[in-house]
Symmetry: C2
Subunit: 541 residues, 2 copies
């Protein structure tokens, strides 16, 4: 690769050619629930986008990375100045940013990364490691800390692929996007099975740095659970862990690197466990009497045999409304409505399951899952609705652009808790979001689904939509986000199940890990990054 | 509890009433293979045991723990002066020790632990956290570091049991021995399923501090894999992690506490994932054509469905010899010989499998396992041999006492590697042990088995037996241990799969985690234990 990638919208999500529209029925439903929307088109083209002047960088940095690998056009700086959270997109759509990297560096390999970090540490230049730029928590925000200069270190050219077919492991370069990694693995008959909603643009390095979880992680395992070993290039030196399947040799340093969000160093590659490519992928939908009944079924499956690879349970609000808004032109919603009518059920908790593997194991696991679903009172809705979900599984962020164009605030956040405390947490966080939107004068919709199940608990994923407060979008968002975060902390949930910490959750890290925990993380950072150049302001505040 | 526990041999393993003997056939086999043994009885009774005079301790320490909770009799000091490794027992049997704790403290709760650490940090008293005292790597060795005084902190009275039946988690006190924890859990219908060979005397806190793996960990999960959340009482403050099933909130501090071996602080309790008590436990034996054929079967099972909870494959040497020595009066060996004769196989690789659960799931999983075993060319030996293994699963350390009485050196060590490198590692480590024993003038037996299987690799567990060099036992052991450790490092294996680091593996930690990794661990220690009082000389050297 010779230039940083530019194949996605600079102001929104993904392929510019993909622009889903809401059909009239969905529009009517939305207006009925959140009020009339005022369209909010883009404020500026890239050519007139307002950015601060870049600071000039040490010549040694150009030598470290290579002359043709330093980029400082406005487009490259804008594209590396934010992630893809609602607040990020709001600012981009507004036509200007108060901060951007002074330059984008595109190292060719881990040695170049090491040289860059040496120069930056010596010269006091802040470094923001950049993978897919899909963070929704401000993970690549160009915060300078105590430094006057900042570079974005785009890892797109770290593209190693080395498969050990016998051990079912693969060393994958940090810069590989999800589909690039899967294509390289598929050529050798294996899959990583990691499909977060950001899959199409997010990278392997980002998955590791943020403890990502994918839509099929109940079966394939969260990203941190499939990491065999890691490398970290830190200003103070390289850290690496052995590739043995288990060790009792002290604290697991692997688990310090995974989730380090760029504040300790750069992950150039990760060795992960892979699986044979599934021959069969079966997706289907069921409906339970309520979210809680659906969650109870999932608990049974997660604590016994038969947990599907993909398992999702929507709450009543998401079940009855959000499907009408999702997918190209609401096709899922219409099918779903038809099914509901057919079966005489209204509302309830929609369940999507996906099981992958060889024919025999899919049949065996499906029989176990079906038994648990029926025992819990769920009714089968068929394969179409499941396949529709599968088909549209990466569409959510596109739909957000559509809704933002229409003048809506659309945001998601997530947490997890043990089964004993899950329902209370869902009620308190959902209530806090709803109340906070109303307090902003913009009553809105709150959806929740359970999307990752474990023997001891599950995740909760909230989506909320309201009219955006024109000119006060960030203030409005902040009020709702804060209310939700405080409810999560009060309920004992984690501040993030899979979106990571970044800028947005850093204020809650003390609640998460305690004062001593923060002190330990800061001691590790001081050891690996004594000059404090790595991704300032993220994770540790 | 009012006194430290004294229900095991002070000079050896476990219940003094259990003393297995080798039958004449086993004795003959042993003599034939390693030469004539010179009996090596105990050198001294406890009454005449030589110990250094204890240093006097700060009065504040008595206040911190309570007056009736400080013990300094010779017996209590001896019982807390060593673990249960071959070298430890050799020294105990020799009638004297050069070092022992100045006193044993028995804190009533985590608050008392916290007070003790405060006093010790202020006064410069080294602290060795003590669970079951079953370390085979010198984990509780009373090394003082830069301090002149040292206490053993016996955690036996930390006995919390709190089960969340709905989330299938349990908070268990560090001082609970394996059977105590299981009995408390069984009363609520659940099990932890953690059965290392040390199970009968080792404690929950020790399992966590050492990243223990149990005989059924292929199915139930290694101890670190079942930890939901932890607490650590450190001199600098308390560290705790949330009990949510997953979080993306930064590096996993839980994984710094698990495996910390007492050098960072004291783990007062651990919250673990438990499972419903199995209704059925089916153990059986099979025989493969060779160790490598057996390992290949296990690889297939671990990378697909059907991996049993217990899975062990013995190499040809262990298969043909060690079973004759194991179990009360060699009953397993005799049965096994009968089976072999019956089926016309000699040597080969013995496979023991154990599957636990409800009747239906055991039947289903057994069918999958049987299919993989037959596909790999293994022959069924029946349930008796499997049940004999199960019956004798905690007998190994008793047999070691018998062999040491007879004048043998008996030691075990373990590693792991990916499937691609497992066979090479087995050959190189086995060869190094064999050569080193021969170089000591005591050619011996080396057995190896695979006892923990993962999708990406497996563990290797070596047992070696030779005549002990009377008066030079430690030197002899050290030479063999060093040769084995160097072969492990050269082969890229981990220095320990489940025995932990302690004193014996500390010299190999730089090979394991690299210089930067060691620096990070030391930075964490400096943060949590600035006075360096916690378990000096272990883990980090």
């Amino acid at each position: 690769m010779s230039d940083p990638r530019r194949d996605s919208k600079w102001w929104g999500w993904g392929d510019p050619a993909v622009a889903p529209e809401l059909d009239s029925e969905a529009l009517a439903t939305l207006r009925e629930r959140i009020g009339e929307l005022t369209p909010s088109p883009l404020a500026a083209e890239l050519e007139s986008f307002e950015l601060p002047e870049p600071a000039s960088l040490p010549a040694a940095l150009t030598e470290a990375v290579g002359e043709d690998r330093v980029f400082s056009s406005a487009e490259d700086r804008v594209r590396h100045a934010t992630g893809c959270g609602y607040v990020d997109l709001t600012r981009l759509r507004g036509g200007g940013l108060e901060a951007a990297p002074d330059a984008v560096l595109l190292p060719a390999d881990a040695d170049a990364v090491r040289r860059v970090l040496q120069v930056c540490a010596a010269e006091g230049v802040a470094v923001v490691p950049y993978g897919g730029g899909t963070s929704v928590v401000g993970g690549v925000e160009p915060l300078r800390g105590s430094h006057e200069r900042l570079v974005s270190l785009d890892l797109a050219d770290l593209r190693a692929v080395e498969v050990d077919r016998r051990s079912l492991t693969a060393c994958l370069g940090a810069g590989l996007r999800g589909p690039e990694a899967e294509a390289a693995l598929a050529a050798q008959g294996v899959t990583l099975g990691h499909f977060p909603q950001s899959y199409e643009y997010a990278t392997i390095g980002g998955f590791a740095a943020t403890r990502s979880a994918g839509q099929a992680s109940s079966g394939y395992g969260r990203f941190d659970a499939v990491v065999n070993s890691v490398r970290l290039v830190a200003p103070a030196g390289d850290l690496r862990t052995l590739d043995t399947p288990h060790t009792a040799a002290g604290p697991a340093l692997r688990e310090l690197v995974v989730g380090s969000e760029g504040v300790l160093g750069v992950i150039p590659d990760v060795t992960v466990r892979v699986r044979p490519l599934p021959a069969v992928r079966r997706y289907e939908a069921w409906i339970a009497d309520s979210f809680e009944a659906g969650a109870e079924i999932v608990r049974t499956m997660a604590q016994g045999p038969g947990l599907p690879d993909v398992i999702r349970v929507s709450d009543e609000e998401e079940t009855s409304v959000s499907l009408a808004l999702s997918g190209p032109r609401g096709v899922t919603g219409k099918l779903f409505g038809g099914y509901l009518g057919l079966r005489g059920k209204r509302g309830g908790g929609l369940i999507v399951i996906g099981i992958e593997g060889d024919e025999e194991s899919v049949a065996r696991r499906r029989a176990l899952a079906s038994r648990a679903l029926r025992a819990g009172g769920a009714a089968y809705l068929g394969r179409s609705a499941g396949q529709s979900w599968e088909h549209g599984r990466f569409q959510g962020p596109y739909l957000r652009d559509t809704l933002m164009d229409m003048g809506a605030m659309v945001e998601t956040l997530e947490t997890s808790h043990t089964w004993s405390k899950l329902n209370d947490l869902r009620r308190s966080v959902g209530g806090a979001i709803s109340d906070a939107m109303a307090a902003q004068g913009t009553p809105g919709l709150v959806f929740c689904h359970l999307s990752h199940a474990y023997a001891d608990g599950a995740s909760l994923y909230f989506t909320f939509i309201a009219r955006s407060r024109k000119g006060a979008e960030v203030e409005q968002w902040r009020a709702v986000k804060q209310a939700a975060s405080e409810a999560i902390v009060a309920g004992g949930g984690t501040i993030t199940h899979h979106h990571a910490v970044g800028r947005d959750h850093a204020p809650y890290m003390e609640a998460e890990v305690g004062r001593t925990g923060l002190d330990v993380l800061r001691a590790v950072k001081d050891e690996l990054d004594p000059a404090g150049i790595m991704n300032p302001g993220k994770l540790l505040g």
